[in-house]
């Protein structure tokens, strides 16, 4: 028995020592100058939250092990710190039930220091009850990343973040543009308007639903046939697997265009297409919905274009909008969308949009590589 107890106790002791040694590391780091909130979006007048009303903002978001969400968190933390707020981020693993429990715990704790909530649901529709519960506390709630589910708008004071419908529209217009560039270059399309496939985010994720929903009418209006769609995930490996499957399904129909919901998926798409004998940028065009990570394929033309929807900027924007409400008691507009300018590959334009396109003073390399 003693022989078994010794290693177990040793393990616990080691874990306790590690925990103690790491404890101080949890202090938020000072925001580096290069990533501070842009002047145009920072609260103009009061930058210190009044002491008597508390200064804590609680953000309910999916897991920051997703690189996009982690970047959102970094932008939000830096902005909150610069405005004098304490930001507490409560993560769930894309699990609405877990997020619902977290909301109940937060409400049960009745923390008087909380001045506002930021709400990023894992499942927009299923999370409405928790959103209502947060609103019922009387503490202002702002929704981010996904527009409030229809009918739940009254539970939030406003929305701050991406406009996924706009993102889908911009991406679809880029797909149409890619088709036209391809045709002008002499490539023969496999149908009158060209054939496309869509590689999307995970099933049920509202951002993906909104993007595809906004993109399809534009694609169809331009005569592009959508042969198939797979809800893949967020990263290159998922994009790769999904593309392999859709290529197997529709190779005989002929695929001209691929719309991936983000550029990380598009990375996997390019790898899969090359393995299948296609030449992205020549006989097939790939468009990513959101720049995400690697710019290599955008630079060399294997990815025709992407959208500059920046995770960090979304985090900055969310906290700035909350601060606007807390300091002035109202928002100038309910919807506060971050811009989403298209960024085309320099292989298809006269000028280098990777270097020239900026948002709020940030360039593509600042906002897209993480």
């Amino acid at each position: 028995m003693r022989r078994r107890l010794v290693p177990i106790l040793g393990t616990f002791l080691a874990l306790a020592l590690v925990a103690a040694a790491c404890g101080d590391d949890d202090e938020p780091e000072a925001a580096p100058a290069t990533t501070a909130a842009p002047a145009t979006t920072a609260a103009p007048a009061t930058t210190e939250a009044p002491e008597e009303m508390g200064n804590t903002i609680v953000a309910f978001i999916p897991t920051t092990t997703n690189t996009y969400i982690a970047e959102w968190g970094r932008g939000a933390e830096e902005t909150a710190a610069s405005l004098g707020y304490e930001l507490i981020i409560i993560e769930n693993n894309f699990d609405q039930a877990e997020q619902d429990t977290q909301v109940q715990q937060q409400i049960g704790a009745a923390d008087a220091g909380v001045v506002a909530y930021a709400w990023w649901p894992s499942d927009n529709e299923a999370g409405v009850a928790s959103l209502q519960a947060l609103a019922d506390t009387g503490v202002p709630v702002i929704q981010t990343n996904q527009l409030p589910f229809q009918g739940s708008e009254s539970y939030v004071v406003g929305y701050a973040g991406v406009d996924d419908k706009l993102n889908g529209e911009v991406a679809a217009e880029l797909v149409v543009e890619a088709r036209d560039v391809m045709s002008a270059g002499g490539a023969e399309l496999h149908s009158d308007g060209g054939n496309a496939i869509i590689i999307g985010f995970v099933a049920g994720y509202q951002a993906g639903i909104d993007r595809t929903g906004a993109a399809r009418p534009i694609l169809e209006a331009a005569g592009i046939s959508v042969l198939g769609e797979v809800e893949a995930g967020f990263g290159p490996a998922e994009g790769y697997d999904a593309t392999k499957q859709l290529v197997a399904a529709h190779r005989s129909d002929g695929i001209d265009l691929v719309y991936a919901h983000n550029s990380a998926l598009a990375e996997g798409v390019v790898h899969a297409l090359e393995e299948e004998g296609y030449t992205p940028g020549t006989d097939i065009m790939v468009v990513g919905g959101t720049c995400h990570g690697n710019l290599e394929f955008l630079e060399n033309g294997k990815e025709f274009a992407t959208g500059l929807q920046a995770a960090r900027l979304e985090g900055v924007f969310s906290i700035n909008t909350l601060d606007e409400y807390l300091t002035s008691g109202a928002l100038a507009s309910f919807n506060n969308f971050i811009p989403n300018p298209p960024v085309r590959s320099p292989a298809f334009t006269d000028h280098n949009e990777i270097e020239s396109v900026t948002v709020e003073g940030f360039g593509v390399a600042d906002l897209c590589v993480y």
Partner: protein
Amino acid sequence: MTSAEVLTETGAVRPDWSWRRASVPLAVVGAVVGLAVVGWFTTPEFVTYRNMQSIVRSAALIGIIAVTMTGITIAGSFFSLSVSQTAAMAAIGFAAFMSWGWPVWAALLVTFAIAAASGAAQGGAVALGGNPIVVTLAVGAVLFGAGAWLTDNKTVRTGTDASDWIGASRPLGIPTQTWAFVAITVVAATILARTRFGRELTLVGANRLAAAASGLRPGKITVYVFTVSSLGAALAGVFTASQFGQGRLDQFDGADIDSIAAILVGGAAIQGGEGSASRTAVGAVFIAGLQNLMVLRGFSYGVRILLVGAAILVSVSAFTLLRARRRLT
């Protein structure tokens, strides 16, 4: 008693091969053949060489993880719930080593050494009496947390194409992942079925106390199987990191559950003592094939999940019934 005969639990001698003994392997192969036949009649694209290659490639990474995890199940330690985190950490570690300018061999060596140490530690904890589910779940959590902390939840890029050949080359037109999947399956199946170690492992899983009483060292075997499982997961991580030039913490979400599904569909007994690396591989291919067929048919995500879940349920129920009937004879 000849080599073609075995001693039953009741002491009777019976032939080494019989329809009842072969029922589980035949059921696994039958499921794959059935799927192929359904695909043949309903979806012409399903049975093309290119799509078959795509299915096996799609099954390769989960297959490698599942085949190398099969030893854990056969040895009676259920499963490892840390393989997805091990694979992700291996991808991150390998990408980081490459980004530091290390030669490929050194990055591989250190990545696999760390994975082996992690697996051996888990095996050691289980051998000391730890519940394998709890131990591996805890180690998975530690690896996940450490990964998040070390990477600051950022993508780690190799920053070089020196290791691309590992994940992106196609000897004889077949991806390296597929070659590795087939090779590992052959080696694992041979070890499990044809070597003394394989028989000892099976005996440990069938009856741990009897194995110990026979002079075997179940603890040592447990350490071995967990080490092999970690190495398999690390190989999957290295393949992905080298193919896409990056390691991410969320790269292998769900890989542990998918691997367990492959093992179960392959007919391994959850309680140990029975299983086969080749059947696990067929299980992985079956699941990948089923998913592929449903995508080709344009099924929605919900229906795909429903049918994969149903297939696993039917498989496990059928194998349990087949084993029960076999024990009665």
